[in-house]
Subunit: 343 residues, 3 copies
Amino acid sequence: MSDICYSLGQLAEMLGADCVGDPEIKISGLATLASATTGHLSFLANPKYQKALSTTTASAVIVSEDMVAHCPCASLVSSNPYLTYANVSQLFAKKFAKHQGVHPSADIHSTASIDTSATIGAHVSVGANVSIGANTILDAGVVIGDDSVIGKDCHLYSNVTVYHGVVMGDRVSIHSSTVIGSDGFGYAPSPDREQGGWVKIAQLGGVRIGNDVEIGAATTIDRGALDDTVIGDRVIIDNQVQIAHNVEIGENTGIAACTGISGSTRIGKNCTLAGGVGLVGHITIADNVHVTGMTMVTKSIDKPGAYSSGTPMMETRQWKKSAVRFAQLDAMSKRLGELEKKN
Amino acid sequence: MSDICYSLGQLAEMLGADCVGDPEIKISGLATLASATTGHLSFLANPKYQKALSTTTASAVIVSEDMVAHCPCASLVSSNPYLTYANVSQLFAKKFAKHQGVHPSADIHSTASIDTSATIGAHVSVGANVSIGANTILDAGVVIGDDSVIGKDCHLYSNVTVYHGVVMGDRVSIHSSTVIGSDGFGYAPSPDREQGGWVKIAQLGGVRIGNDVEIGAATTIDRGALDDTVIGDRVIIDNQVQIAHNVEIGENTGIAACTGISGSTRIGKNCTLAGGVGLVGHITIADNVHVTGMTMVTKSIDKPGAYSSGTPMMETRQWKKSAVRFAQLDAMSKRLGELEKKN
Amino acid sequence: MSDICYSLGQLAEMLGADCVGDPEIKISGLATLASATTGHLSFLANPKYQKALSTTTASAVIVSEDMVAHCPCASLVSSNPYLTYANVSQLFAKKFAKHQGVHPSADIHSTASIDTSATIGAHVSVGANVSIGANTILDAGVVIGDDSVIGKDCHLYSNVTVYHGVVMGDRVSIHSSTVIGSDGFGYAPSPDREQGGWVKIAQLGGVRIGNDVEIGAATTIDRGALDDTVIGDRVIIDNQVQIAHNVEIGENTGIAACTGISGSTRIGKNCTLAGGVGLVGHITIADNVHVTGMTMVTKSIDKPGAYSSGTPMMETRQWKKSAVRFAQLDAMSKRLGELEKKN
């Protein structure tokens, strides 16, 4: 349990939910239906967990109206229990220490402008002409390159690196080991490879990140070659995502872990890319497109919908047979055509 | 060669192997059969390298009993040469500096408890109420969040980030740039996406890591939403692995590089996941399951065995033909059925 | 626009291009044809952008000879416009601050040798017996382990970690969060798994990196088990690439993001691996091999060419049908054979 405590009635009021049961019940934590005990508030958002509702020992549960009768304890009634759970979860989140100013070990360039309400952790480095907005927190070991702008109410977790010339809005969270603004992977092949190899194309663009964006851990977003790489408002990005130079991500789009997006590809608004998806470069994905896990996206998608690739998991022994046949598919198709002609 | 030196007889005794040849031979390093010279101990674990045994210039070789006659030099005879090689390798590993205390540049919260035998490197940050066990080493730039517990004999390499509320056992190694305890990727879609986008679900759980766990570089393990994410005893995890919130990994399981495990999935004991494997969320993998590289695991696996997906590599020109036919597979199957009816 | 300014005539001379138009035109930045304005130099390297040439408001454009007549402004004429663009881009790259010496917060071991022209940023750690060459820059938070050698004119961006015993040549760039020299993933399975689990094989080799190598962000290159992991001259490696122990990469090879290479695999010269490719261990890839995105490489490739695997993206509803049929492929093939016998 946390140190945070509310009465059920208080929560009902804050969340816009109806309180069924004693409004004086004390809630000091959240838990799943299975692990909740006295003092816990739980939730039922997925009907498949209804059985767990009947046996829960939670003090109260967030439920939809049709579930109130099945609830063995008090309840908060909501038209969207999952959204209500999301809202209440924030009330019980760890409160980071109040404004602590600039840690004495931080290295801040004399030309940087840091709001007096910002918190700058130990061993942070902030470059020339950087601007850090109100209430923003830079945790230990964060590095901000020259000329970058970090908005208000942002939280950059430990060991995040932001290169020079990166501009982000307000309420942006970036998790540890993530890198924003590293060079895009751009080279011109030299005609004499033996002598010259690859000639690097200096990456002169920056990265622009909108408001209310969250970026996971160990994710990389490269700076643009000439124009900027752009992440729209309210985009959510998971861990270990790779976003190449000059990619543009539309508003509200969500990108799950281990996905890679190649250079200059544009993703629309309200899209979801599941985990491990790969997109080639220079393509355009329409709004409201949903791509399932590990799909290889090799061309533009111009209408909303769900898209997939890959083959189903099988026992290895059986899979080997299908894999061999895959290589014979064109021949099989031709043989089938021949037979059809004969019949 | 290293500064470390043993006689062959000493090694035989320490390793529980039989010494064939002069026990006074000096061994000051390990090398492959092909590159070993005088002073090197080598090993033969895979019969396909038997030819290299006949020409090796090593001073001694770890072999199984049936290979002693083929060994052109002294040998250490073991019933499991690969395991004996693993054991002897540790004798020649770089010895990290003895206890060096807390580096003056480290930022240690006044409430943190650090064993007097621990070594805390330069520019390390340790948060409130943290506990660091005996002989544990935190290399330069490591960050440990509030309320986290690091056991005894652990080694966290440079620039590892551990968030708040992470608990790990003894003899845990974590390589650089790895992040433990970042927020899980949990959001409730807001009904009015244009206005609200995604509502973040605060990630209130932690991460629990057992004893004798090794975690590679640039790996990410998210904290749980309500309950903890759990890594069992003796689990080994390679580089660039993504483990989402509330995943549970059973004892002795090994996970190779670039694998991603989605939220709430449970992996059994003694499993191996090869590189680049992806698992969807909310599934269960039984004990003793082995998944081959780049497999897309979209459903639970309830019996031990080997599992695979994907298609074989081909020359691109030929592959394009098979890929086109893959999209026609359902039609081909129906055409085949029609022909069968006519015959 | 940057502070950097050249006349068109100066650029023509520096780049070995012909100047068509007024050589006194001032160029103070680069831009795409679509976004260029007065003072910008642009380029046309891909014929599909020819339409944008006719409407550009750039001050000058790098073009091939046959495009001069279509250029609405001054031009620099080159036999290879893309290569000329690469060369000119470097003239407009952000100039990092001149030599700044060693930041007072850096922790430098007394036995390390740092060239007087090197720049060592804030909160850097440099271990025992390390050598840092002339003009090399270590940005904030970089860590260099004992006995490692960094050549001349290298640039390691913030929060890069280099372990002990890593040797790199001159003009090597490494982007943030990247880890060089972490332990390879090597363990001997213990016969009594319940008791012992995995026995770690100490990784006694190092990493050797040639000259003129660029390595992206959040990439991992493991040290060798006995011999070294080797990256050849002029190799370019993108973000989030995983290179396991004892891999060898030949000269001039390029590796795109999210690719993973398993242990002891050898890649030839002048190869390209596109994004998300996976290679099993202990195989050999010939020179001049090109592997398309997300290909699963399960065996050696002994002749030059292009190689692929995977299935095409489809609408999910249709894809599910093909996926089901994939599992039936062997049976389909046999049924086809039966029909052929009857006909």
